[in-house]
């Protein structure tokens, strides 16, 4: 379906990642945002607050991230596409509600403009150390989707993608930005609304009668949605529930529900970018701002004659297991630079299943790698 032109700022812009993310949300049809100020993400909602009154929708600054992360879910059940924005400390506060969104299959987007951590850490400086938390931070077995943009343009494009996937799979989607991508200013091209594809809210076509089951999945394992006020008298609970949405706290229902919530994500596309992997000895696996630095390191390595390829992760979760496993059979080693002490590198190593070495290039955060740091690892990997 084509985007609603009211939210599309068509044109060629010079814009930072935070602002581009906001524009992506508006283009995707987001008409409700709840947020709480936290560096370096605040600009996303500040822009939304400025733009939404002229597009038509609501922004509310809530009293904390706990409130923001559930207010968006209320808004979704009220009929809106909704998102919230935060950074590390707020992301931690939102964990319970990410789980609620997964359990109640509430489509919504959580933007995390990652900064140095742990704890208060480095509010104005980059990190990429929330990657595992995005997947595992909420208690229980719940699946999520996480996307990593590496430019303001991608902040725009992938925010739209995040909303689309949230609607398609009825799942919370994390947009894992970082402070540099959020605050860097680059060219952002926003196409005309008719060229932007948005996945609409899939509402049920069933009649509001006694037989209606709001959590009866379709063939794709995703139940069609229903909104409050439509006369369906449905119930939503975070307790383990059956297809009627009623609490059914027994192992059989638990097994059925938990497995379906995970299985429905099988078709999630593993977005990624590869370049030069044919015949490569080493592949650099990276994401976010680090991938921009890695690009330079790859160039330097090639100048030195190293056969090195690039695998840029865009969909971090679900992790691109099959792609990495296949690649591992063909290369000597993976080099995984990240602004953390080794998070996605563990996934690479796991997926490689011993077929290739994995060399993490860790960085505690606060700045980006120097290309030479990554180059050194590439050369070591090629030996």
């Amino acid at each position: 379906m084509q985007a609603d032109p009211k939210g599309v700022l068509t044109g060629v812009h010079f814009m930072d990642g935070d602002y581009a993310c906001c524009e992506g949300a508006l283009a995707a049809g987001a008409r409700f945002a709840a947020g709480y100020p936290i560096t370096p993400s605040t600009e996303v909602v500040e822009r939304f607050a400025a733009r939404i009154p002229m597009v038509g929708g609501v922004f509310i600054q809530m009293e904390d991230e706990l409130a923001a992360s559930i207010a968006i879910q209320g808004a979704v059940w009220g009929g809106a596409k909704a998102f919230t924005v935060t950074s590390g400390p707020g992301f931690s506060l939102m964990m319970e509600h990410i789980g609620l969104a997964a359990m109640t299959e509430t489509p919504c987007v959580f933007v995390n403009v990652q900064r140095g951590g742990p704890s208060t850490g480095l509010p104005t400086l980059p990190g990429q150390a929330d990657m595992m938390q995005a997947r595992w931070g909420s208690h229980g077995d719940c699946g999520i989707i996480a996307l990593c943009p590496n430019s303001p343009q991608e902040c725009f494009d992938l925010t739209i993608e995040a909303f689309n996937q949230a609607e398609r799979f009825r799942v919370p989607v994390m947009l894992m930005m970082d402070e540099v991508v959020g605050h860097m200013t680059e060219k952002v091209v926003i196409p005309p609304a008719e060229k932007i594809d948005v996945f609409p809210r899939r509402l049920t076509t069933a009649k509001p009668d006694g037989d209606f089951k709001p959590f009866q999945p379709g063939d794709d394992l995703v139940p069609p949605m229903v909104h409050a006020g439509m006369g369906y008298n449905f119930h939503v609970t975070g307790l383990t529930h059956d297809e009627r949405g009623y609490p059914a706290m027994n192992p059989e229902t638990q097994d059925r529900l938990v497995r379906r919530l995970l299985k429905k994500l099988d078709p999630v596309p593993h977005l990624h970018e590869v370049e030069g992997i044919d015949g490569a000895d080493v592949v650099v696996v990276s994401y976010g701002i680090t991938s921009r630095v890695a690009q330079r390191a790859i160039e330097l390595a090639r100048e030195k004659g190293v056969k090195v390829g690039k695998f840029r992760i865009i969909t971090a979760w679900p992790f691109p297991d099959p792609e990495i496993r296949d690649l591992a059979a063909r290369v000597k080693a993976f080099v995984v630079p990240e602004l953390n002490m080794g998070q996605m590198s563990r996934e690479v190593e796991r997926a490689a299943a011993g077929q290739a070495r994995t060399i993490p290039v860790t960085h505690a955060g606060g700045s980006v790698h120097r290309p030479e740091q990554i180059l050194k690892a590439i050369e070591e990997a090629a030996r």
Partner: protein, 289 residues
């Protein structure tokens, strides 16, 4: 005179496929649901537009028993969920139905901010003086010198005066009743539905299994008799004077009923004044039908 209705009036809004409910013998939550049902029917509210949002706890289970669009959310966060729901679809009558611990301990921050904003939400707080679902722990409304599982030698923390707190935060309608005052409670609920703004009703209710039993106060009926004996109706009483105590007077009535522009009015007013023609009213995002 012939009879028209032969169905229990509460059944109109109950999920009969989930009755009997889990509440204990003599628990007053079901009583409040009766009042709620009758208030909804009497006020002729469009039931399709009523949404019930609850948190976690015994009272939180109300959402699951009402045959309305209902949401059983996380502990303490019914109010912010209800905020998003109402703002996305202002045509909904959003009722928050939860307990003393859920709304005032973990949810306390959200309570005061929603009242401050005067969001058009209708809050029913069933106050059974403890965290009942988890076994009877101390809560922010537990009177002093009573036994709870986390105060086995007697509580010593001062309790909140719920009506005072909510009034101070900005609520436009504040009332307290007990489960003995069924007609008054139903009437207050009806009044609430006709108001726009943050409305709050505290309902004192027995928890026979935990609070009553541990404190040798008898059963649910004994609690109800004590409500009848100890309560005094004082409409318009200053909320600073309505604090509860272990065995003292229970002041009930409608304490606050004032006009304040609600959040929606404030938001639309400010934005249309500042932006003039450029202001795009938030479309009702709900795609009904």
């Amino acid at each position: 005179m012939s009879v028209v209705c032969i169905e229990n009036p509460a059944e109109q809004i109950l999920r009969m496929d989930r009755i009997p409910h889990i509440w204990c013998p003599g628990c007053g939550i079901g009583t409040t649901v009766n009042c709620f049902a009758r208030a909804l029917v009497d006020s002729k509210v469009d039931l399709r537009k009523v949404a019930v949002v609850s948190g976690i706890g015994c009272t939180g289970r109300v959402a699951g028993y009402t045959k309305l669009d209902s949401f059983h959310t996380t502990h303490g966060r019914a109010i912010p969920f209800a905020t998003g729901l109402k703002l996305a679809n202002p045509s909904l009558q959003v009722v928050v139905y939860s307990g003393d611990g859920d709304l005032f301990a973990i949810g306390g921050n959200h309570m005061i901010h929603a009242a401050r904003r005067n969001l058009d939400l209708k809050v029913v707080c069933v106050n059974n003086l403890v965290y009942a679902m988890t076994g009877g722990q101390t809560g922010p409304a537990t009177p002093d010198h009573v036994i709870t599982t986390t105060a086995p030698y007697g509580t010593y923390e001062p309790a909140f005066n719920l009506p005072q707190l909510v009034e101070a935060a900005g609520a436009c309608y504040v009332a307290r009743w007990t489960t003995f005052h069924v007609r008054q409670l139903a009437r207050s609920m009806s009044e609430m539905f006709a108001r726009r703004g943050f409305c709050f009703i505290e309902v004192l209710s027995p928890c026979p299994t935990l609070y009553q039993r541990r404190n040798k106060m008898g059963d649910g009926l004994d609690a109800m008799k004590s409500y009848k004996e100890l309560s005094k109706t004082r409409h318009g009483a200053p909320t600073s004077e309505v604090a509860l105590s272990r065995a003292g007077e229970i002041v009930v009535g409608k304490f606050v009923d004032r006009q304040r522009p609600d959040y929606g009015d404030l938001m639309r007013g400010q934005l249309s004044e500042t932006l003039g023609d450029r202001y795009a009213e938030p479309e009702e995002a709900c795609t009904c039908g």
